[in-house]
């Protein structure tokens, strides 16, 4: 048996990515990074800002996401997210834009602890992309 499963990433506008030869996916789950292999138990979790790594036969890919939900069931991994960027396409200026946006937001006073945590995560991750 092959050790591959199917991944589907959808954003509100369209189906962003569909692949069926994935061997491992690492997602930034809310409580820490999580690697998903074939025959993982059914799971639902949500994501914090971070990087999704997809390892597959046809090449490895990384995406930067800001939020999302993962659902894994019957060797189908679905990721729902409203903001996702392919790191390969992401140039310096885009990264700087996002970083600036996040920093502006974290400068605000009235945000809750939880959203502050998420924004801090965002800033941290964005700084590592280069």
């Amino acid at each position: 048996m092959s050790e591959e499963f199917k991944i589907e990433i959808v954003n509100p506008e369209k189906s962003f990515l569909v692949k069926d030869d994935v061997s491992e996916v690492v997602v930034p789950a809310y409580e820490g990074e999580m690697g998903i292999l074939k025959d993982h138990i059914s799971i639902i979790s949500f994501l914090k800002p971070g990087i999704i790594k997809i390892l597959s036969k046809s090449g490895n890919e990384s995406y930067y996401i800001e939020d999302g939900i993962v659902e894994f069931k019957n060797n189908n991994l679905s990721i729902l997210t409203s903001s996702i960027f392919n790191i390969a396409d992401m140039d310096k200026s885009k990264q700087q834009d996002l970083l600036k946006q996040a920093e502006e937001e974290s400068g605000k006073e009235e945000i809750s602890d939880q959203s502050r945590y998420i924004i801090d995560q965002k800033i941290e991750v964005l700084k590592t992309i280069n």
């Binding site: 509100p12 369209k14 189906s15 409580e31 059914s42 799971i43 639902i44 939900i69 409203s82």
Partner: protein, 291 residues
């Protein structure tokens, strides 16, 4: 009877109107294809979202402490209605159908002694509702600047709804929009989004148990606000496809009507031209005879 000159002018004006409606129809057809495409592309997201929430809510352990967005506040005193219409007119019954549906719902609520609050999305709905329900409209949102329905806009509306819910300004929220069936048929819909009406989508609740990380409650409380934006976005997509479809068939009708009118006017024009010729001939002949 109108003079020949008048008739000529009318024919010319009807013809130029026909040209305009024809052009509008073409534009609507082109936009419709795009809108339809994006409505179809947007479907997997909202479907998946629904699935996850269904799975979650069936697995939730403590029904009493379930997030308020799912279970409701326990009251049904204040109703919030989000009426989604277009920003532009000339699209047949598109806006009036939504308004009609909304109005009948409003009067039902009011006659039951409930409180009503309205948010209008799109300027046409606001125009039609403010005459009767002007004091009930608490917010009017319009996305004239953005060409296509996008998630960013939907999220804005969603945030407003959630903010109002959190400050307990309403108990039940319903959105009104047109569901796109085909070019000729659009069905006005009233969909309750707060509290979530799980009876609408009874099937595909799998028996399979999931592992949740973190626990169900926390995921749900994160997910439900997103779901509201998603539902509003879905409504916006359906609406924009419906609007273009409705406009297309309305403009098609207008073009055909203009064609019929041109035909009728042309016949009238030819008849009166011939009548004038005949009259002249009679005058000449009877003049010659009398000599």
């Amino acid at each position: 009877m109108a003079s020949l000159d008048d008739l000529k002018k009318r024919i010319a004006s009807v013809k130029s109107t026909q040209k305009i409606t024809k052009a509008m129809k073409m534009v609507a057809a082109a936009k419709l294809r795009k809108a339809q495409e994006s409505a179809e592309k947007g479907r997997p997201y909202s479907e998946k979202m629904n699935n996850v929430i269904l799975n979650l809510s069936s697995g939730i352990s403590d029904k009493e402490n379930a997030p308020k967005l799912l279970s409701g506040t326990g009251n049904d005193k204040v109703h919030l209605c989000v009426v989604m219409t277009s920003d532009r007119g000339l699209c047949g019954g598109f806006n009036s159908n939504i308004i009609k549906k909304a109005k009948s719902y409003f009067s039902k609520i009011l006659s039951n002694g409930k409180e009503l609050k309205i948010i209008t999305v799109g300027s046409k709905g606001n125009d039609q509702l403010k005459r009767i329900y002007g004091d009930k409209i608490i917010e009017n949102i319009s996305f004239k600047e953005s060409k296509n329905a996008n998630y960013f806009d939907a999220d804005k509306v969603g945030k407003i709804v959630i903010d109002k819910f959190e400050s307990s300004e309403f108990d039940i929220c319903t959105i009104f929009y047109n569901q796109f069936k085909n070019v000729i048929t659009q069905i006005p819909q009233a969909q309750q989004i707060v509290p979530l009406n799980s009876e609408d989508s009874e099937d595909n609740t799998s028996e399979e148990s999931y592992e949740f990380e973190p626990d169900e409650d926390e995921i749900l409380s994160n997910l439900l606000p997103k779901n509201i934006s998603t539902q509003i976005f879905k409504a916006m997509l359906e609406n924009s496809a419906s609007e273009q479809g409705s406009r297309m068939s309305a403009m098609d009708n207008a073009t055909r009507n203009a064609g019929e009118m041109v035909d009728k006017l042309t016949i009238q024009y030819n008849r009166s031209r011939q009548a004038a010729i005949t009259k002249e001939l009679i005058e000449i002949i009877s003049g010659a005879e009398s000599l």
